[in-house]
Amino acid sequence: MENIIEIRGLKKHFDKLEVLNDIQFSVAPGEVICLIGASGSGKSTLLRCVNLLETPDAGEILVHGQNILQGRMDVNQYRTKVGMVFQSFNLFANMDVLKNCMVGQTHVLHRSKEEAREKALYFLQKVGMKDFLLASPAQLSGGQKQRVAIARALCMDPEVLLFDEPTSALDPEMVGGVLEVMKDLAREGLTMIVVTHEMGFAREVSTRVVFMDKGVIAEEGSPEEIFQNPQNPRTREFLSRYIQS
């Protein structure tokens, strides 16, 4: 099947620090890819390069074969196709839950209010937040905020949804609910790239696990390959620390 996204030779540095070094990476429809690795290994930066929140220094990002880093590409149009869920939720604090899910639809996709509302209700129902339509983000718990953030991203009908450590800022008892929502989405065939430290989730849900180390992809493969039979010594070291702790 044709890849949705294909990344070639991607490089990114912050000042003198090489964060990404010659990354090759592709995403096919329906894949659930988990990016794992130590802090500072470049996983979040890679994810942020995919929707151009970071501008790569070099390389190509091909979306359906077209290089989005070249020429007069409409970045805003592209971003509607690539949703993003953040570690710190980033709900719009001046809007209630329903508005958070509608504003992108009405102002970016130019859907009618009725259509946007219907869609928002559908996805808020899906993430179990339909009873909180008029709540402001400040009134919600972390887990609730993150579920609204997922609904907000889904409302844009993205082809790919990016998750940047979606459960890292949550209290332990909130993590489960968010992971359940993500598992449902994966089962329904949504293409997802997930930066995570939840090894259980990576093992259970992902179709491919990518282990990053010092700005390069050190190893990738099926969850079985990575978790049961890692080839790279760095992968083994990283995973063993996880299993111990």
């Binding site: 501008t55 971003r79 509607t80 001046n94 909180f132």
Partner: protein, 248 residues
Amino acid sequence: MAAFVEKVLEIAQRYWPLFWAGTKVTLLISLTGTIIGLAIGLLVGSVRAVKVEPRDGLGTRVVKQLIHALTSIYIEVFRGTPMIVQSVFLYYLLKPVFNWKPTVAGIFIVSVNTGAYMAEIIRAGIQSVDQGQTEAARSIGMTPMQTMFLVVLPQAIKNSFPAIGNEFVVNIKDSSVLSAISVTDLYFQSIGVAGSIFLFTQTMTVTASIYLVLTFTTTRILGLIEKRMGRPRSSFPASQTVPGNPTF
């Protein structure tokens, strides 16, 4: 002491039409000046918050830097010189062009002066909105303009409301310098009264009392508005956000 108070009351009683006329001009100039100043501040402040992005072409880059330089000059000049100097300078500079009345010139000067302060207040307000919300807005495809007007500015204005209100209070007092271009505000009227009866301290007691009433009332009203704004935007009771709560 009793004689002093008596004199003060007498002045207030005898000249109240003049004090009242001056008060109206003071309120007109400070209120209009603050509102127009806020509009200028919103424009300049949000333009200044636009940063040069790595993906910008050369043209965009030059335009952005030029705007930044010009607005910097505006802010520095108007915050760095006394308003009394600005008023005399601009009044006579632009008189041949507009042939304006002192009151109109006064509103113009207070607006432009306030705009410089408001721009910095708004810029700080914009910076107080966490960057994550901007990223989230961009990630669903909003343009920088949409992000600014739909997400960032509403919060920036709310966050900087106390500072914005404070500018109004400052303007009530500082518009008194406009007497330099014979704007017939409260101070101008008062000094006229004082000069004609040669009782400066007593007259200024009346004047100060009126200014105090104006600023005190304004501060209270602003405080009430601030309190109302501080509440969650919706009328959704917090108890209802917890499923399984008995009141749900």
